[in-house]
């Protein structure tokens, strides 16, 4: 796992293609062995299903229709609130764009303090070397109280690992 000094050195290396951009405030985002990532402005909210509905992977056409029916894309301004009610699920992405070199992999995870409120943040956590893009966050409120999230808030964290032959 890369330490803060190690990943910072790489981020500041003009010859490296490792990037986390934009970094709004490394003072708060850089941990000893991880970097905090923020909630981006794009969200896909899943509405509560009415009637007898199920996502059935055996019926590709129906699943597409159901997704369109029950998922809504919204774009929220930076700093604005978003309520995640108990039992609700939303897909989001990080504000930061990540670019990983061939020698690094990453692991995205929630921050424990959010977990204590009942918020589960990421399920697809492994980031392959040479990945370029934002990290998809699957947000679910497993608690019993609504959680207020702000666009731009530090929500997840990512740790980096060296990939060796």
């Amino acid at each position: 796992m890369l330490s803060r000094d190690a990943y910072t050195r790489l981020l500041l290396d003009a010859n490296s293609d490792f990037a986390i951009t934009p970094l709004i405030d490394p003072d708060t985002q850089f941990g000893l062995a991880s970097v905090d990532l923020r909630l981006g402005p794009d969200l896909v909210i899943t509405r509560r299903a009415t009637g007898v509905v199920a996502y059935d992977p055996g019926d590709a056409e129906a699943i597409q229709d159901d997704l369109e029916r029950y998922q809504t894309y919204v774009r929220r301004p930076f700093g604005s609130r978003f309520y995640l009610h108990p039992g609700e699920f939303a897909i989001a992405r990080t504000l930061e764009f990540l670019s990983l070199p061939t020698t690094l992999s990453g692991e995205a995870m929630g921050r424990s303090s959010w977990g204590r409120l009942g918020l589960v943040i990421a399920t697809a956590t492994f980031i392959q070397p040479e990945f370029e893009g934002t990290i998809t966050l699957e947000l679910a409120n497993l608690g019993t109280v609504p959680i207020v999230l702000y666009v731009g808030m530090r929500l997840a964290q990512v740790a980096f690992h060296e990939v060796t032959d």
Partner: protein, 511 residues
């Protein structure tokens, strides 16, 4: 009204629409109050007076309905997601040159860009006509609302949106700052230069129409108007270059390339309102070369720094090749015989040169200078080369062998944060577009061939798939949109740092 309000209430990316709704609701409230007062007054009037009042009310209501139509069209069709990230930077640019203004960006079914005059003025006129001075004064306190339309079909094509710079320049020249010295006032400049060719213009017409003085006068009036309109077009092109950079020249070249009009009209048809596109492009090519040369001169000044060009992502190479590209484009343009436009050139060349020289004063903070272009080109090029979105400049990003052993440590005292000590700063959005466009033209798709029906005059310099819905074009547009969005988010976070402390706090307190 309530429904329209609800629709846009929390959309901070629709400031122009919100301003229009403000104006509309104030006017409608005043109109309804006026109707109520008239209703009360009605009983004490004679039958004739009642008829007059009813007639006036109908006219006034009809005028208001017409205005409502214009407003609802501006409010009802809002820009799409692919345009969203451009709203903030474009709004900044508009506000820098037209203070106290708001803009509505609207997709249009037409294939051209257009900027409308202030829409609030329509309601102001209505208020004055109806004796509502208070409402008029109230409306005067609102920002001016400008509607800029762009082709809906090109919504996601950021590379073409440089034409917004041209439309914005029209607005600037239409409303010259009355307090500015004559030297930089466009109306004074136009008048002065038109005067300098007026006698020759009259003489030419008289010589051509010796036996028909009325026709000569008509022809002279037509020519004078044409000269003025042509000068305006050259002038807005010049200002657009200083607003958005070489991006405008390449976008206009693409437009000409797709249009191909002059190839089907070899006589180089001239229009009353617009000079021939080839001539406009030739003018702009010269100005763009000057722009690149200034940038290259800046690069020479940097020559003693330890960064060589490879470490700058080949930025200097891009500028030099950009110069070559402009030269090749100019060679491709159909030549307009100089004798045909000798008098026009005597007017336009010096007037436009004067505008270029005064662009900084006219455009104020909105100017995108060659120096800024050069400063930002290195990080943009460097990042594009590494496949990283060029959104921010990290000043301490250095060559590996000069990075300190422990390059960065977090500060304990977060309150001491300032933009000067921040990890990075957002790149100017125009640098992102200009750098990416140039990089794409010269690096990503270097195929020199282009299929066309124009015979031996093939423009062999343009990327093969320019202006086609190619994957390469879609990719560069998506990359530019994404990078501008990231850079704007960083800028916003810096601007709202004090307000956005809650973003840092929870759930820290619970830990």
């Amino acid at each position: 009204m309530a429904a329209a309000r609800r629709q846009v209430a929390d959309r901070e990316n629709l400031p122009g629409v919100n301003a229009l709704l403000d104006a509309l609701s104030r006017t409608l409230a005043a109109a309804s109050e006026q109707r109520r007062a008239e209703g009360t007054q009605l009983q004490s009037l004679s039958a004739d007076e009642q008829n007059d009042l009813a007639e006036n009310a109908t006219i006034s209501q009809g005028q208001l309905q017409d205005t409502l139509g214009v407003y609802l069209s501006a409010i009802g069709i809002t820009h799409g997601n692919d345009f969203d990230m451009l709203i903030r930077p474009l709004r900044r640019m508009v506000k820098a040159v037209v203070p106290d203004s708001e803009v509505v960006f609207q997709p249009s079914e037409d294939y051209y860009y257009r900027a409308s005059l202030d829409l609030i003025q329509v309601l102001e006129a209505w208020a004055i006509n109806n004796g509502l001075e208070d409402v008029h004064d109230d409306l005067r306190s609102l920002p001016r609302v400008i509607v800029i339309e762009y082709p809906a079909i090109s919504e996601s094509d950021v590379l073409q949106h440089a034409h917004i710079g041209h439309e914005l320049s029209h607005l600037i020249l239409n409303q010259p700052d009355p307090d500015a010295p004559d030297k930089v006032r466009s109306d004074a400049l136009f008048e002065r230069h038109l005067l300098s060719v007026e006698d020759d213009l009259k003489r030419t017409r008289r010589a051509h129409l010796k036996n028909a003085p009325q026709k000569a006068r008509d022809a002279y009036a037509y020519d004078r108007e044409r000269f003025g309109k042509w000068l305006l077009e050259f002038s807005v092109d010049a200002l657009a270059l200083h607003l958005v950079g070489p991006w405008f020249f390449f976008a206009l070249t693409e437009f000409a390339h797709v249009d191909g009009n002059w190839h089907t009209h070899p006589e180089l048809r001239q229009q009353a309102t617009h000079p021939h596109l080839a001539w406009r492009l030739a003018h702009l090519a010269d100005a763009t070369r000057v722009y690149f040369r200034v940038a290259a001169a800046e690069a020479e000044l940097d020559a003693d720094e330890r960064l060589d060009d490879e470490e700058r992502g080949g930025a200097l190479g891009l500028v030099r090749e950009g110069l070559g590209l402009v030269k090749r484009i100019k060679r491709w343009l159909p030549t307009i015989p100089k004798a045909e436009i000798a008098l026009e050139r005597r007017l336009i060349d010096p007037a436009v040169a004067e505008l270029h020289a005064n662009a900084g004063t006219i455009l104020k903070g909105a100017r995108y200078s060659p120096e800024q272009f050069w400063i930002d080109l290195a990080p943009v090029a460097q990042k594009l080369k590494a496949g990283i979105p060029p959104a921010e400049r990290i000043d301490s990003r250095r060559r590996r062998d000069v990075i300190e052993d422990v390059p960065w440590q977090p500060r304990e005292d977060h309150v001491a944060w300032s933009r000067d000590t921040a990890w990075s700063s957002p790149l100017d959005w125009r640098s992102i577009v200009n750098g990416s466009y140039l990089h794409w033209l010269l690096r990503e798709d270097p195929s020199p061939a282009i299929a066309n029906d124009w015979g031996s005059e093939s423009p062999v310099f343009l990327p093969k798939e320019m202006r086609e819905a190619s994957d390469s074009r879609r990719d560069i547009n998506a990359a530019v949109r994404g990078s501008v969005e990231l850079s704007e988010l960083l800028l916003l976070a810096h601007e709202r740092r004090e307000d956005s402390l809650p973003l840092e706090r929870p759930p820290h307190a619970l830990a």
